[in-house]
């Protein structure tokens, strides 16, 4: 059975509308889950009507969808919540790769395509290629398979710029040349160089900047799908791709603002590798450590507690224990809030997901801007595995590389407990004056073990 073009287009319009409604419902925690289902339903409609678009090779479609679904389901159901960032990066990369392949086939099936098709083919393989290899490196970095430190070498920016220029040159040649053999050679070169560019540009980025890169790669996968839509003249690809592209760019922008840095600075800055110099203010202060039982006494008396988690909480897998401590504090009569910095963790909203996994109700999760005004009324602030996002140098020290970055003002609380393995500086390698403040107490050791002991102290009393 083959549906008429009008009916298929109508199906695509319905699908696009469902994507839009789905995204809109993602605005609120209450409706977000249904929103995702609505969006999934849209995807289903788009796929089903496409199957009736003409005589397709159903055998291979069935094989492809079966294999893809099996792999997707396996990954998605097996993955640990702490491994979510790398999983999203990987899925994202596969979307980019699919767009590269779609662009290539479109060219292969119609070598003499007009300029209006050749340009989007070039863009689809270029953006999709960068997205795929970039996402693979991001996956590697997040999963700890590739070093989380920025990999830098002299002339890096020049090399990247040259590759980009070469790609543009090849693209122009690909579009204008009439020779089919040349076209084939050129598209292979474009795909190859795009993959190289993706690797080189993401490998230079430090782990703390991952939220920005993940958002940007997310945007690329949308734009690649969008370009593929222009290739085959399909509206639903263009609309959905553009929605994702826009969403990724907005998130990228939010993340950059949260670090007070420009996108160019994140992409070319090699942050974290160059900032080991100490701008020591003469006097050498000492951090004051405190034992778990002393910390318990302070917490026991506290009426207002704020917990500030960071990537260290994810590494220590401490979210469940943290929630247990939060519950005990509440039973003890304290008000407990979780303050989450926009770039805490390795992807946008990373800490929210982990705490949600540990059954922390979302009413207790506060954004930086909502919690900062009440910080001075807080009795105890517990910093778990966060460093740069609570570093007062961002406010006070103009020579600091993170100067100007909005932070959670934990130092305004009466007492600050910092849970930390050792005195090593955080990811960005920047000295943190918070540790030396008069109201700060360090609790050294594994974050999970420390909180576990605090929990036992509460239970024994």
């Amino acid at each position: 059975m083959i549906l008429s073009k009008e009916l298929i287009d109508f199906g695509y319009i319905v699908a696009a509308m469902l994507f839009i409604f789905g995204l809109k419902m993602l605005n609120k925690p209450d409706t977000a889950r249904q929103g995702n289902l609505v969006s999934f339903f849209g995807m289903l409609i788009a796929i089903v009507v496409t199957l009736f678009a003409g005589k397709l090779d159903y055998k291979w479609i069935l094989i492809g969808i079966t294999i893809g679904s099996a792999i997707g389901l396996l990954f998605a159901t097996k993955v640990q919540m702490t491994a979510m960032p790398e999983m999203v990066a990987l899925f994202n990369g596969f979307g980019g790769l699919a767009s590269v392949l779609v662009g290539f086939i479109a060219f292969h099936q119609d070598n003499g395509a007009p300029i209006a098709t050749a340009i989007p083919i070039f863009l689809a393989v270029l953006i999709g290629g960068v997205c795929f290899s970039g996402s693979c490196i991001a996956y590697g970095k997040l999963a700890g398979k590739v070093t989380g430190k920025p990999v830098l070498y002299p002339g890096q920016q020049i090399v990247n710029t040259l590759i980009l220029l070469a790609l543009i040159g090849l693209g122009v040649f690909f579009v204008v040349t009439g020779n089919v053999q040349y076209k084939y050679n050129t598209i292979y070169e474009i795909i190859g160089l795009a993959l190289v560019l993706g690797v080189l540009s993401v490998i230079a980025i430090g782990g703390a900047d991952m939220p920005v890169v993940i958002s940007l790669l997310n945007s690329y996968s949308g734009l690649a799908a969008c370009a593929a839509g222009f290739v085959i003249g399909n509206n639903v690809l263009i609309v959905s791709g553009a929605l994702v592209g826009a969403s990724g760019i907005i998130l990228t922008n939010v993340m950059c603002k949260a670090m007070n840095r420009s996108l160019a600075n994140v992409l070319f800055g090699g942050f974290g590798a160059v900032t080991t110099k100490k701008s020591g203010p003469g006097e050498k202060k000492e951090a004051k450590a405190v034992s778990v039982s002393d910390a318990y006494l302070v917490l026991e008396a506290a009426r207002n507690v704020v917990v500030v988690p960071g990537y260290g909480m994810a590494v220590a897998q401490a979210q469940h224990t943290v929630r247990e401590l939060g519950d005990l504090l509440e039973e003890n009569g304290a008000e407990v809030r979780y303050a989450i910095h926009p770039v805490a963790g390795r992807m946008p909203g990373h800490m929210n997901v982990l705490l949600a996994e540990a059954n922390v109700p979302y009413e207790q999760l506060f954004e930086m801007d909502d919690v900062n005004p009440i910080m001075s009324t807080v009795d105890v602030c517990i910093v778990i595995g966060a460093n740069d996002v609570v570093n007062p140098a961002a406010r006070e020290d103009e020579s600091s590389p993170i100067y100007g970055m909005p932070i959670i003002n934990v130092d305004e609380a009466s007492t600050v407990f910092v849970l930390k393995r050792s005195m090593n500086p955080g990811f960005a390698g920047i000295e943190n004056p918070l540790f030396f403040k008069d109201n700060t107490r360090m609790i050294f050791g594994d974050a999970k073990a420390t909180i576990q002991s605090l929990v036992s102290e509460f239970k024994e009393s």
Binding site: N36, I105, L251
Partner: protein, 94 residues
């Protein structure tokens, strides 16, 4: 030209929709929109047509369907798993 018009309108609509998403939902938003970018599966399906079917098209087309499906299925399932964890106070805790 019409396609470009559609593209620009969609970008504006996307910006309008996403700016309102609170930061606590940023991860599900990312993975949910990531699943939507798997829409490229439509292009992959259309590439597997009988008319211009040669071996290379079939192989690459099938590969494209596989990768796009992983993106779609994995993306939606992971997003659903995450959102299922977001609970209000007092809702049943597992």
């Amino acid at each position: 030209m019409l396609l470009i018009f559609v593209f620009l309108l969609s970008i504006l609509l996307g910006i309008e929709l996403i700016t309102k998403v609170p930061s606590q939902l940023h991860t599900p938003l990312m993975s949910g929109s990531n699943a939507i970018s798997g829409i490229t599966i439509v292009g992959a399906l259309l590439a597997l047509n009988h008319l211009e079917n040669d071996l290379l098209s079939t192989i690459i087309g099938t590969a494209a369907v596989i990768f796009a499906t992983i993106n779609v299925v994995g993306g939606y399932v992971v997003t659903n798993r995450m959102l299922a964890m977001f609970k209000k106070k007092g809702e049943n805790k597992q």
